[in-house]
C-alpha cells in the first residue's frame, strides 16, 4: 500500500481509490487513523449530512438509492455510509445495503461505503461519523448516513447529521408505538414508506397530528411525507422536504448551532471512550476488581456499594453509582 502522505495527496486530487483506502486506515484506528482524521477535519463542514434511521426492513436502503438518484439528477455528488450489525458471536458481518443500491454502477458521483458495527451499540457508530468526515472532505455535496435498524431509544443519532429522517412503515404498529418511540422526537422529517400498503394514510395522519402539537411548542414543523418504491416519483416529496429543512437550517444560523452541539456530543463521546478504556486497562482496577468481586459473590457486599468503593479507591468521585 502507498504511504499515507501519498494517499492524502491522491485524495486531494479526487482519487476515489485513495479515499477508500484512507477510510480503511481510519477503520483500523491508531496513530495513522488520527493523522488522516486530522487532515480531514479542516475540510469538513461543506456537505449536507442526512441520517436515515428507522426499524430494520422499513426500506432505508431502498430510499437511499432513490434519494441518491434524485440528487444526482440535480447535479449533486453523493456519499453514503451504510452501517450493518456485526455478529456478537463471530465478529463477522453481512453488509447487504448495496443490494438495494443499484444506481451506483458506472457513476462515480455516488460513493457507497458499508460499515460493520463492530460492537458499537448505537444505530450509527462514532466510526460512521468519521467515515462521513472523509466523504465530506472528499467534496461530496450530500452525505447520507444509514443507521442500523434502530430501536425506540436510539436518540443519540441526532448528533450525527444536519437532518434526521425517521422512516416508518404502516405495518410498524399502531399510533401508540409512534407515541412511545423516542426516535420520533429526534426526527426532522418523518417518512411513511411502503405507502402503497394499507394503513399508510391513517399512520401519516396520526403522525402529522403529533408534529402539529410539537410545532405549537416552537419546534420546526416536522413534515410527514409518504413514499413508495413502487412509485419512483414519490421520493420527490422527501427530497423537497430535505431541501426545505436545509433552507431552515441556513436561516438564522441554525446550522452552525446544530453543528456545535454535534461536535460537543462527539467530543464527549470520545472523552467517555478514552476515560473508560483508560480505567479498564489500569492494572490497579484489575487487582482490586477481583478482591471486591469476591466479597460480592460471598454476599457481603451489594454490587452498587462495591462499585462505589472501587471508584472511590481509584479517586473517582461517584455520585450516582447506584
Amino acid at each position: 500500500m502507498p504511504q499515507l502522505e501519498e494517499l492524502l495527496a491522491q485524495f486531494a486530487n479526487g482519487d476515489m481509490r485513495a479515499a477508500s483506502r484512507l477510510m480503511s486506515v481510519v477503520e483500523r484506528g491508531g496513530a495513522d487513523a488520527e493523522r488522516v482524521l486530522d487532515a480531514m477535519f479542516p475540510r469538513t463542514g461543506r456537505a449536507h449530512r442526512i441520517a436515515i434511521t428507522g426499524p430494520g426492513g422499513a426500506g432505508k436502503s431502498t430510499l437511499i438509492n432513490e434519494l441518491a438518484r434524485a440528487f444526482r439528477a440535480s447535479g449533486r455528488t453523493v456519499g453514503v455510509v451504510a452501517e450493518d450489525p456485526s455478529s456478537p458471536f463471530s465478529g463477522g458481518a453481512i453488509l447487504g445495503d448495496r443490494v438495494r443500491m443499484t444506481h451506483a454502477g458506472g457513476d462515480t458521483g455516488v460513493f457507497v461505503r458499508s460499515l460493520a458495527s463492530r460492537g458499537s451499540e448505537n444505530g450509527l457508530s462514532a466510526l460512521a461519523s468519521d467515515l462521513a468526515d472523509v466523504l465530506d472532505a472528499f467534496g461530496r455535496d450530500i452525505v447520507l448516513l444509514e443507521s442500523m435498524g434502530a430501536s425506540q431509544v436510539e436518540t443519540r443519532i441526532r448528533f450525527s447529521a444536519d437532518t434526521i429522517v425517521v422512516v416508518l412503515t404502516p405495518e410498524a404498529g399502531d399510533e401508540v408505538q409512534s407515541l412511545k418511540s423516542g426516535l420520533l422526537e429526534v426526527a426532522d422529517i418523518v417518512c411513511v414508506n411502503k405507502s402503497d400498503r394499507g394503513g399508510a394514510e391513517s399512520l401519516a395522519g396520526d403522525l402529522d397530528a403529533i408534529m402539529k402539537i410539537r410545532e405549537k411548542e416552537g419546534h420546526w414543523r416536522c413534515p410527514v411525507v409518504m413514499t413508495s418504491a413502487r412509485d419512483t416519483g414519490s421520493v420527490d416529496t422527501l427530497t423537497k422536504a430535505l431541501e426545505e429543512h436545509g433552507r431552515y437550517l441556513d436561516a438564522e444560523g441554525r446550522r452552525a448551532v446544530r453543528r456545535q452541539s454535534s461536535l460537543r456530543a462527539r467530543l464527549r463521546a470520545r472523552i467517555d471512550e478514552s476515560i473508560r478504556s483508560a480505567i479498564w486497562q489500569s492494572p490497579m482496577l484489575a487487582q482490586r476488581f477481583d478482591a471486591i468481586f469476591e466479597r460480592v459473590t460471598a454476599g457481603s457486599l451489594p454490587p452498587w456499594r462495591a462499585a462505589r468503593e472501587l471508584a472511590e479507591s481509584l479517586h473517582i468521585e461517584s455520585r450516582s453509582s447506584r
Binding site: M16, R17, M23, R28, S87, A93, V99, A104
Partner: protein, 133 residues
Amino acid sequence: MKRPLKVLIAKPGLDGHDRGAKVIANALRDAGMEVVYTGLHQTPEMIIEAAVQEDVDLVSVSVLSGAHMTLIPRIRELMNTAGLADVKLIAGGIIPDHDAAELKRLPGVAGIFGPGTSTRDVVTFIEGLFPGR
C-alpha cells in the same frame, strides 16, 4: 487495530439464482469476516466500483450462467486497470474442470470452486490467502 477480512461477494451477469452466494456469505460471516453482498445482475463495472469503494481484501464472484469464461477474465482485467491489481479474485459456480484450470492460470485468480465444495474448504482457502490476519 486490525480490521476483519473484508470480502465482496457478487453475482455478475444474468443468472438469477443466488442461494449459493448467500450460503457462502453466511459461512464467511460465521468465520468472522465482513462480507459485502452486492446482489444479483451486476455488471463487471459495478463489481469493480463496489470493490474500489469498499476497499475489500478479496473479490468473490458466483457464476452459474455458463458465461464464466467471459465474465471472470473481464472482471480480473478491470480490477487491474482500476488499481486493484493487489486484490485477489476467487469464483464459484458451475464451472467445468478444464475451464477452471484455464481460469486459474490467469494472474490474480486465486481459486475456482465448483459445485459440492464445502463451505469449510472455502473458509480455509481464504484464510490461507491472508496468513497472519
